[in-house]
């Protein structure tokens, strides 16, 4: 893979080292001459000294030949403009924009920079997933948070325990994609029995996650009422 890494110092150094090991072709853009010398000396890569928000920089490095662009500068606006150049004018397939201000993650994504990431944003998402739900539920998200995968451990007090999926009347807005019953992994059908201590992996949209968890965790006693 051919990769352009624009801006950043220590972050750039780390990413160059990670990708270089895998035999990728890397070119670096940096507007600071000292940083450029440091990155070139440390990693033996080509470094272009220039402003990543100028079109001629991309023409000089022949950017249209590259597959991945990563903007790492400390200025969110500069990263946005650099990604636009790479994406719109030089058709680089995948552009990753890092931002300092977590609010810019949603903003840049809605403006078409699909791979916008912020360490603070990622941290807050991780905390939300760990603390928002109790210990028996773990979640992960995919496709820019539009798909949620929830892992729920079944207790024998739950009303769906010891029932088949059909009998449990599992809601249509969620899908049990997999059941982990140590040491087995079961791809379930309607007739599959849900047992206590099973771990259900349920795919849903984020809007329906809470309703689904409430359904699964409904206690047997409530059911009789």
């Amino acid at each position: 893979m051919r990769i352009v890494i624009a801006g950043g110092k220590n972050e750039a150094d780390y990413i160059i080292k990670t990708f270089k090991k895998r035999g990728n072709k890397i070119i670096v853009i940096n507007d600071d001459e000292e940083t450029a010398k440091f990155l070139s000396r440390e990693n033996k890569v080509d470094v272009y000294v220039g402003d990543m928000t100028k079109k001629y920089v991309y023409e000089d490095i022949d950017a249209s030949d590259f597959d991945l662009f990563i903007a790492l500068s400390e200025n969110d606006t500069d990263n946005y403009v650099a990604c636009l150049f790479a994406k719109e004018l030089f058709s680089i397939g995948r552009c990753i924009c890092t931002v300092i201000n977590p609010k810019n993650v949603e903003l840049f994504r809605s403006l078409g920079i699909n791979y916008t990431i912020s360490s603070t944003y990622l941290l807050s998402q991780a905390i939300k997933q760990e603390t928002g739900l109790d210990d028996l539920v773990k979640t992960m998200t995919m496709e820019n948070d539009r798909i949620v995968l929830s892992e729920i451990t079944i207790l024998d007090t739950y009303q769906i325990a010891n029932k088949t999926i059909v009998e449990s009347k599992f809601p249509h807005y969620g899908n049990i994609s997999c059941i982990y019953r140590n040491p087995e992994v079961i791809i379930p059908f309607g007739s599959t029995l849900i047992l206590p201590n099973d771990k259900l992996l349920i795919v849903s949209s984020p809007e329906n996650q809470k309703k689904l968890i409430e359904f699964v965790k409904k206690e047997k006693d409530e059911d009789h009422e």
């Binding site: 100028k54 079109k55 500069d78």
Partner: protein, 167 residues
């Protein structure tokens, strides 16, 4: 709120007249609906805001630096707001979505470009004008109806026309 009280005494007839004037707000009466927003109170921004205001347009000018408003004349009747034009919450608080037009003239091309995209794509404002020093950045606006103007071409064209007047 300010209250002005005028007391007139007529001793001959024993009449006392009291006039109370209550002014609820000293803020200029600007309609935010259909107002022109100017982003950046540079010399150009201040001049455009004042010119439009003199033509009886409702004008709202925004800058991050309160001292930038010193460039406006005292007679300026528009609204002045201190804030970040890249902050969506701030823009919503000044009701940007009901703007008639937005003119973006901060000194940073990249800020201007991002700001124009926010106004056009997020708040769906159809009349967005943006100053860009770098002609190439205008190529990033071709998918939209955002209108860019360039000091580079204006200066060049002005010089050419001045040279045409040579004897």
């Amino acid at each position: 709120m300010s209250i002005i009280c005028v007391v007139l005494l007529d001793y001959k007839d024993g009449v006392i007249i009291i006039i109370l004037m209550i002014n609820k707000s000293i803020e200029p009466r600007i309609k935010r609906q259909r107002a022109t927003f100017v982003f950046g109170c540079s010399h150009l921004g201040a001049s455009i805001a004042n010119l439009l205001n003199e033509k009886d347009e409702d004008v709202i000018i925004i800058d991050q630096d309160i001292f930038a408003f010193n460039k406006l004349p005292e007679s300026f009747g528009g609204l002045k707001h201190v804030g970040d034009i890249l902050d969506l919450n701030f823009l919503e608080s000044v009701e940007i979505q009901s703007a008639k037009r937005v003119i973006i003239v901060t000194d940073d091309d990249n800020v201007n470009l991002l700001s124009s995209h926010i106004c056009y794509y997020i708040f769906h404002i159809q009349n967005v004008y943006v100053r860009l020093f770098d002609l190439n950045k205008g190529e990033l606006l071709t998918e939209s109806k955002i209108k860019a103007f360039y000091p580079f071409t204006l200066s060049r064209d002005n010089l050419i026309s001045l040279m045409e007047e040579e004897d």
